[in-house]
Amino acid sequence: MVEDKTISGRIFSAINFTILAIIALITVLPLVHVVAGSFTTSAELASSKFVLIPKVWSLEAYKFIFSTNTIFKAMGVSIGVTAIGSVISLFITSLMAYALTRRDLDGRKVVNFMVVFTMLFHGGMIPTFLVVKELGLIDTYASLILPSAISAFNMIILRNFFQNIPEGLEESAKIDGCNDFGILFRIVLPLSLPALATIGLFYAVTYWNTYMNAILYLNDSAKWPIQVLLRQIVVLASGMDHSATLDAAVPPPDQSIKMAVIVVATLPIVCVYPFLQKHFAKGAMLGSMKG
């Protein structure tokens, strides 16, 4: 946008900036409040109404939540599922996406249609649950990964990206005696690192945030990932009455402890966010275009 130096233009800009700044403030304030609240004592939280920077710093809440094994265990589950799940998802998504870029592949159109159709129509929660159950995945960590191992959307984004790699490169590799795996791993994937990073991080965020699969497929509370535990500690202890009961090791927690759990469950996302942000706008745009 070209600089607008007229008086009315400046007034317009000033108002526009102010409103945006207020919206940005509203967006971050809840986060700041929770982070600040987690680093102070509950007594301090109760006395000062609005905590942005705590007057009294305290690690009491964190000491408390890490004094039992519950949080460690759930973090471990989430980290494991995120790491293993992202690798599996990225791997099989790349394989499929690459194969589907090859025009001489018979049946390519059928498979493409098969993938797109699942974005328009699906069997729903109960039939999917029954399939997972028949496969014996109930109460296994695999149930947090396999039922959502490939996102059709991510596959299409990646396929479109691979399609833009010049075919000449692949052909010269073939002349040098590379088979299709060689072409994929030595040529296509190294050229696609930004796309792989984006899709990989999208998968990682999804696995870290996984909640529904755990609610549906895990009855054993010892296997809960952090998101389910977070709900148990914050939502259910706020006078809610869902069927599941709170772990006996955790008494009804007070505010600063709840905030500390929220921070712990959010931290990994905030850590990867800067890396994610570099790429995702492009990735999201690519995905919104037609395949």
């Binding site: 986060l31 018979d106 098969m114 699942t118 328009l120 029954l130 490939i150």
Partner: protein
Amino acid sequence: MQEVTAQTSSAPQLQPKPEIYKSSSELKKRLWRNKWLYVMLTPGVLYFLIFKYLPMYGLIISFQDYKPYQGITGSDWVGMKHFSRLFTEPDFLNILVNTLVLFGLNILIYFPMPIILALMLNELQGTFFKRTFQTIFYLPHFLSLVIIVSISYVMVTMDGGIINELLVYFGFEPINFLLNPGWFRPMYIIQVIWREAGWGTIIYLASIAAIDPGLYEASRMDGAGRLRQVWHITLPAIRGVIITLFILKIGSVLDLGFEHVYLLLNSMNREVAEIIDTYVYTAGLRQGQFSYSTAIGFFKSIVGFVMVILVNKLSKKMGEEGVY
């Protein structure tokens, strides 16, 4: 002559370019040459067959009285029994209304937000603030719904939540946001806006970036102020994207997503909060009414599918690009 007909009938679907598909032996050769590609395709295809297409096959239990121990092959067929129950059950009417109300709020209140935000961001002069604001606005999209709901809970709880503390400080009565059914819908839509409005701007900003700067130049010559430029240049330029996204939204009418509402649901707000997805979960997995809840899910999937097809046709008729 006979040979030709024999050839065409052997592979009638595979002949878009007859000169390539000369004989079945050549097809075999090509299949063999691409063997590694088929190996690559296998895990993906298996995934879609097992976790997407088997459940579609499983939809037939909505025409049965499905018993887990008898399986699909052993359960009794009951025809449309579960579907006719849908339309006579008062519960179902209620969840349908709740679903439609939340959808309406989504369209009326949430949908314009990313557009307004994108227009405002576009008018911002100076890249530093633009970047900073965008970074802040995109972030909530990556937080899980559990985190979003948890943050609102610690803020609005009666037990020392900041919102109620402020209400009391300014001399109002504290409000029990969590258990008061009247507050369920506002809380839901505020959370949707907080999480998604910023992320939603990406696509609008991208299409704004494609506008020819000469148009703004020319309008300035004609004496148009900034607001007029937004109204007469920017908005019309992104009209197509707005319509496309609107259509996509309409297509997902019954599909609000299970997680968000489930997280906010409790026994006090059930009458307004129970939607199709949460009802399927409760009736199906908690109460074991597999066939009935599958029928509800089936109904939802069909409505969604038909809506997408319909609105896509409509958009093409209106001269806009279709969604697919």
